[in-house]
């Protein structure tokens, strides 16, 4: 047992734990690095497969995750979606769109000090359930919302 190493680990545990568990193991602090992109998860064709690839097979439903998005979006090319997690210790927020060809749309790592709330705009090919997956204190939680699309956003 290397005592000084244990001490170092302990001292750095708040930061270290976050780095290790913090962001689904797929996001690390530092510069943007496309090499770290979770290709496997992004290329899955169903929500279940994408969750498996993210290591979040059976997330618990939570009403502490809020999805703010229109009930009916006129233009599927630009659907504004905001996700807020009120779960303590939120480490990452991931957005999945069930009926898109590749459901995993975006994943956000939330370092300590950053509020667990992100907004972006996404494309939706058709009306679909969208899922907000949140990792908090190492556990996975999910909420879902249906968004109806009147004009698809993935067509040519």
């Amino acid at each position: 047992m290397n005592v000084s190493r244990r001490k170092t680990l302990k001292a750095g545990s708040s930061v270290g734990l976050f780095v290790l568990l913090g962001v689904a193991g797929l996001l690390r602090p530092g510069a943007a690095r496309a090499a770290d992109w979770n290709k496997q998860a992004f290329e899955q064709k169903t929500v279940a497969e994408a969750l498996r690839a993210l290591g979040a097979q059976s997330p618990a439903n939570s009403d502490a995750i809020l999805i703010k998005a229109p009930e009916i979006a006129e233009n599927g090319a630009v659907v504004p979606i905001a996700i807020e997690s009120r779960l303590p210790g939120t480490q990452s927020i991931t957005l999945l769109i069930e009926k898109n060809p590749q459901p995993l749309a975006a994943s956000f790592g939330i370092p300590a000090g950053t509020e667990a709330s992100v907004s972006t705009r996404v494309k939706m090919g058709q009306s679909s359930d969208v899922y907000a997956l949140v990792q908090a204190d190492g556990k996975y939680f999910v909420a879902k919302k249906e968004i109806k699309i009147t004009l698809g956003g993935c067509g040519g």
Partner: protein
């Protein structure tokens, strides 16, 4: 070279609200051009925002994020007058970093 991002960072009540608009096609790889050929995928894969060397947000995106992506988030502890930097990298390895001063 891609166009610059538009970054607006505003400090209020102890936290900084950051809004970013990036300029990018976000081509899905599923769309066909006029001659029926698939247009190759071209999209931002990773985004990170840093404040004084510390990462305040990191994201991985797929092609489902809309063209000219929008991103909004809030972080605590930022001071008015300081700089925030945002970097993206796309699936072709192109990168862009822009800075903005917190108002």
């Amino acid at each position: 070279m891609a166009d610059p991002m538009r970054i607006r960072a505003v400090a209020r009540d102890g936290s900084v609200n950051v809004k970013v608009l990036m300029s990018h096609e976000m081509e899905t790889g599923q769309r066909k051009d006029a001659s029926g050929k698939l247009v190759p995928a071209h999209f931002i894969q990773s985004v990170s925002a840093t404040y004084q060397g510390k990462t305040v947000l990191q994201a991985q995106w797929g092609p489902a994020v809309s063209k000219n992506p929008f991103l909004e988030f809030n972080f605590r502890g930022g001071q008015k007058g300081d700089k925030i930097a945002v970097t993206w990298e796309d699936n072709k390895g192109e990168k862009r970093t822009d800075e903005s001063t917190i108002n």
